[in-house]
Symmetry: C2
DNA sequence: GTCTATAAGATGATAGAC
DNA sequence: GTCTATCATCTTATAGAC
């Protein structure tokens, strides 16, 4: 229903109708409308963690850079495939709704798991901030300005290479020959 | 009013009350609620163009890189200083509202002017896409995850250097000594 | 240009019967 | 658990008097 009407278009009456009961009967399952949003929020993050944890697809990443790129594209596609879910999980635009503490904790776990691989590769907090911003920025532009297309998705590999070069250059320039130093001391 | 209540919190009754009349009297000025959103949209972009066109502040940019950085920070601050306006102008989350053709044309002019400087410096369409994504990504994170702080703003100079290095390296590495070639032919 | 009156509806939520 | 009945609003918008 929210995929059709948007998040604020969720109406208890119509929701009741769709599941075959009166709106009031929903209160046997949820104490308020926000509790429904909260359940969707939680479910969304559970799906997210499930998707991100899947084994790599047949077209495998062979090296570290390809591995990071694959993870980034997976995140990107997860977001773009369901813009309303993206809005619910990563933007926060429903008036008067904020997730319950348990749901927030889940979201934090999901974030930690998402960037855990990068952290292990030596990315510090600042670089993870930059990482998050760039990836969600591309995602956002794709959803808002080219839904259904690939205009911004095509930039993901380049962004990944750019970020890795900036924050973990040893991963991208194989350490064969050290650049000469100015002088030997 | 929308700064307090959010964009969807705009109510004609209360708006009327604030300007000293009944809600119905507003229809002498606007034919619908969406026309009010449209007026705010247009006004926002006019302010935007005004702000971005201001002469550089006393702490001047001295070189090209600093010039780009200053412009980026100016955009960033414009967005962060008024999150609701940001939502109206750059995200599009009001149900059933879309800007009139004239307002859209204005928004396109504003974008062109905003990236015009970069285009003159040799940035192509793809790099402008990346530019937009990164800058709005940082902005978005700042607004959603650290409102009032500077956690993501601090990353702007680094992002600028990273992007310029990627897309216009001649601007950041002064052309003193050419890297030696493999062989002379 | 502002008002009153009112249309015509939507909404989330509660009480209590069965 | 689901229902009917209903509350208590809220909303945008129109008609027409002054």
């Amino acid at each position: 229903m929210v995929r059709e009407r948007g998040l604020v278009g969720l109406s208890l009456r119509e929701l009741g109708g769709r599941v075959g009961m009166r709106a009031q009967s929903l209160y046997s399952y949820f104490t308020s409308k926000n509790e429904i949003y909260d359940a969707m929020f939680r479910q969304g993050y559970e799906t997210f963690m499930g998707e991100m944890a899947l084994p790599p697809a047949p077209n495998e990443p062979t090296n570290v850079l390809a591995f990071i790129e694959a993870g980034s594209l997976r995140f990107f596609d997860f977001c773009v495939s369901d813009p309303v879910r993206y809005q619910l999980l990563f933007q926060r635009t429903i008036p008067d709704f904020e997730p319950s503490p348990e749901s927030w904790a889940l979201a934090l776990r999901a974030y930690d798991r998402g960037v855990g691989g990068l952290r292990q590769l030596g990315f510090d907090d600042e670089s993870l901030d930059m990482w998050t911003a760039v990836l969600t920025g591309l995602t956002d532009q794709q959803i808002s300005n080219d839904p259904g297309g690939t205009r911004w998705r095509r930039q993901v590999p380049r962004a990944v290479r750019m970020l890795v070069t900036e924050f973990a250059p040893h991963l991208v320039t194989p350490p064969r020959a050290r650049p000469r130093r100015k002088a030997t001391r």
